[in-house]
Structure formats: C-alpha cells, structure tokens
C-alpha cells in the first residue's frame, strides 16, 4: 500500500479530529504506521478545524503534505480551502447536508453524503462523523469493520459503552448510502 495522505476538515465540534484519530488508531492496530496531527498555522483562525493523517505500511517521512490523496470535508469553507490541493486519483468526500452538489473533477472522484440527515434519521446528530466514516471506508477499503469497531470501543471506553451501537449503525448507514449510489473508488 502506498502512503495515503488524508486531510479531514470542518467546523469545530463536528468530530473532525476524532475522525482523523480513528484512522491513525486503526492503522496502528493493523500493524502499519499511522500519524495524526491537528491543524497548525494561521488557517486555524476562522472557525474551521482540520487535521492531517498519514497511513502507510512503510516508514512515514514528512508529516506535512501539499496535496491530499483523500479530503473529507464536513463544511463548505473546508471544501473550498482544500479542494485545490488534491493528488492524482484523489477522493473528495463532502457533507451534502450542508454543501450544494459538486461535480467530479479530472482525476478526482467527488462524492457527497448527507451525513447530518442520515444521522438525524438514526436519532443522534453526533454520529454524523461516523456516517462519513462508513462512506469513507466503503470507498477506500482502508480498514475492516472489525478494526474500526475495536477502535470505537476503545475510544468510548466503559463509561460510554452504550454509544457503541449507534456508532456502528452510523457506519453501516454511511456504507449503505455509498453502495446505493453505486460509485466505486478503490
């Protein structure tokens, strides 16, 4: 597997940092290398939060990358800010509950998922980021359901163990949505 440079961005509170950390935890669990870091620099001003994640089965060199292989955009400012910095054969996944329909570009697949609507249907808007996770995993096939479930259980811990089920449902719902769209990436 080539190293994957992943940018996750949105408003603070949308679960952006957690989305990125779950990927890095999953890589570590699968015995490959994961790296996560929160946004630094002037771009943190203006209400958007973002993090960079790199997963690779080789040694990870630069923690900083110019172009992302995958962009997960939870809001419009994030999409506008990062969509110009995509690598060849990239994937942009965006929140179509808050962003108007986007067209795919040359060499970049663009997929919208109405994560807020799906999460609301499930009865908990807080799992919108896990709907996005389901869609992301369905397209990229980066990690197995077992790996992700184990990480979610670990993060939620015993105190919030009752939330594991709704998070699992959210992931399934995200996967189902992408399956119905019929788009394929990896």
């Amino acid at each position: 597997m080539d190293a994957k440079n992943i940018k996750v961005a949105g408003f603070g509170g949308q679960g952006v940092m957690m989305f990125g950390q779950i990927l890095a935890y999953s890589a570590t669990k699968d015995n490959i290398n994961g790296l996560w870091f929160p946004s630094y620099g002037p771009e943190t001003r203006g209400g958007t939060a973002n993090c960079s994640v790199i997963v690779s089965d080789k040694q990870i060199n630069s923690p900083v990358f110019k172009n992302a292989d995958h962009l997960v955009a939870f809001n419009l400012p994030s999409l506008v800010k990062f969509e110009e910095h995509m690598a060849e054969n990239g994937l942009i996944l965006y929140n179509s509950s808050s962003i108007d329909d986007q067209k795919s570009k040359e060499n970049v697949l663009v997929v919208g998922v109405p994560i807020n609507d799906i999460a609301n249907e499930l009865g908990n808007i807080k799992v919108a980021n896990m709907v996005m996770m389901g869609a992301y995993l369905q397209l990229t096939k980066l990690f197995s359901d077992e790996t992700i479930e184990a990480i979610i259980k670990k993060i939620l811990g015993e105190r919030k163990a009752d939330l594991v089920e709704i998070n699992k449902q959210a992931i399934i719902a995200g996967k189902e949505y992408v399956k119905k769209l019929g788009v394929k990436y990896a």
Partner: protein, 356 residues
Amino acid sequence: MAKVLMKGNEAIALAAIKGGVDAFYGYPITPQNEVPEYLSKHLLDAGKVFLQAESEVSAINMVYGAAGAGKRVMTSSSSPGIALKQEGISYIAGAELPCLIVSVMRGGPGLGSIQPSQGDYYQATRGGGNGDYHLIVFAPESIQETIDVIKESFDIADYYRNPVMVLVDGLIGQMMESVDFDRPVKERFLPEKDWATTGTKNHPGRRNVANSLYLDPQALEQHNIHLNEKYKLIKKNETRFELINFDNPEYIIVAYGTMARIARSAIEMLKKEGIEVSMIRPISLFPYPEIAFDKIPENVKGILTCELSMGQMLDDVLIANNGRHKVGFFGRAGGMLPDPEEIVDAIKNFNERVVK
C-alpha cells in the same frame, strides 16, 4: 509489545517513566502541557514525585536539589520557559549533576507563538546560562526516536554527571504516531552516586556538597579544565547522526527534527526527477557531528541547511564544512511549516540560496 498510537508529549512522559524518573518539577506552558498532565497522574500512581512549582525558576532549582540528592529527575518546558530556567541549568552543569530537560520549541522571540519552531538551537547548544558549560543535546526526528533517546537519557546524564536536553519542535509534541516503547536501551556501567547529598548517615565521615561556586580562580580553572575534558569525552562517545541516501549525491541537505522528516520526502521527490540528494541528519546537536561532513564527496554542488528558523544550526554547518563546499540555507519561521515541495524548489534553485 505491539505498537500504540500516542501523542508526542504523552510519549515523552511515558518514556521518562520507563527510563526510571523519580521526580518531575515543572511549570505549565504550551505546547508541552501534556507532559506534566500525563505525569501528574501516572508518576504519582507509581509512587514517585510530581510537583507543579510556582515558576520555572523554582522548578529548575527543585531539579537542582533533587539531582544533588542522587535522584533521577527531569523538567520539561517550551521556549520562554526554558529561557527562565537557564540560570538553574548553568548551576546544574557547574555542579555536575545529572538531569533531563525536555525542550519543546515554539515560535519566538519573546512570547512568540505556540506553533512549532526550531528557533532555540542557539539556546540549547550555546547556552542561555553563563559560563563555560555544555548540555548534551539530542534532537530526535520522530516520536519513536524521542522515546528511545529519553529512555536512554537518564543513563547518559548519570554516566557523565551532566544535564541532557532533549530538543523537539512543537509538532513532535502535538502529533500522534504509532510507536513501540519496548525497544532495547544500550547497557551502560553506571558508577554508584557516592557524591549524592543523601545525609552523612548514608556516607559517614564524608561531607558531600552540591556547589558551583569556586572563589579560588586556580580551583575554578581546574574545574573548567576538568569539565572541558568531560565534554571532549562526550564528543568522542556520544556524537550521533544518520546519513541518508548517501550514494553519489549532487547536493547534501543538513536538517534535524521535523525538518529532517520533511527533507526525507523532498529527497524522494527529487530522486524521481533524477536529482540525487543526500542528507546528514544530526541527532546530537552537542556534540555536533562535524565528523559526518568528512564523508561528503568532493564533487557535490553544495550543502543546503534546512531549519525551522532563520538560520542557527547554519553556524555549525559552516564550521563543520570549513570552507570546503558552497553552503546554502532554506528556512521557515514563526510556526510555519514548509511542505516537501518547498525544499525541492530550494535544491533546484540552490544558487539563490547560497550564503557562503
């Protein structure tokens, strides 16, 4: 043990526990706060000492005292906090006491910013404290290397009776990586701390004193000569560096810490374009790996020093190069991080980068 994903600052704290730290004294400052946060729980759980002092000056003098009593002791801070600690650091070096000082660099000067920087190279290697002294300074490039060097640093400090500084930029403190805490540490023979001020009931008939005051100039000169001999020994034994892609290079990059990681990616990109670039990656900043520069082939077009500063290690590169090759500089400062493409451009336009 399987790898775990851990934040750099927390990994520093856990590595210190694995290295046998007995006591931590510190004062909060971003971007290293997860170090004391982690230790405030786990060091106390282990029955050791954790103390948040009322100031940096107080914290470093507590380190001085506990080190004098023969304990394995550490502090951590960031740029302006390390500045406040310099007086105590000089005293500890003068009194020849072992300790670990972790410095997580942020932008400067003054209060600067809380973003990553390498602007404290001079502070670490030239001393902000007074007098003829050196710290042993290690500058790891990843969280894994930070763990490995911290686990070893108490042994190194004890062996030489000298403070060790582990110098990282804020990015290493704030990011998370997959790491292994169980990599082996080099075994060292460590003599008993018969100098420790543990009370005369523990060393009957001998009065142990931790002191850096020598009013007799002859005695102080002898002390300075003794310290200098020790620094020579450290230079001989503890110089550390890595040579990367050292195969018929056109250019040489010299970089440490996060900048070395970014340069690794730049070197791979340049290789794809048919431009061979090697890197000297200093791991010890004192002693500086001057010896690595003797390995540079005569026909290289130049040496590019890359730093997250306006050029500080550049001085040591110029000294080590000793006029043999053209030396250029690429730097970002203030908390800005370059992407690898910027280093690629700097190599391609090396002539615009030449400083000497």
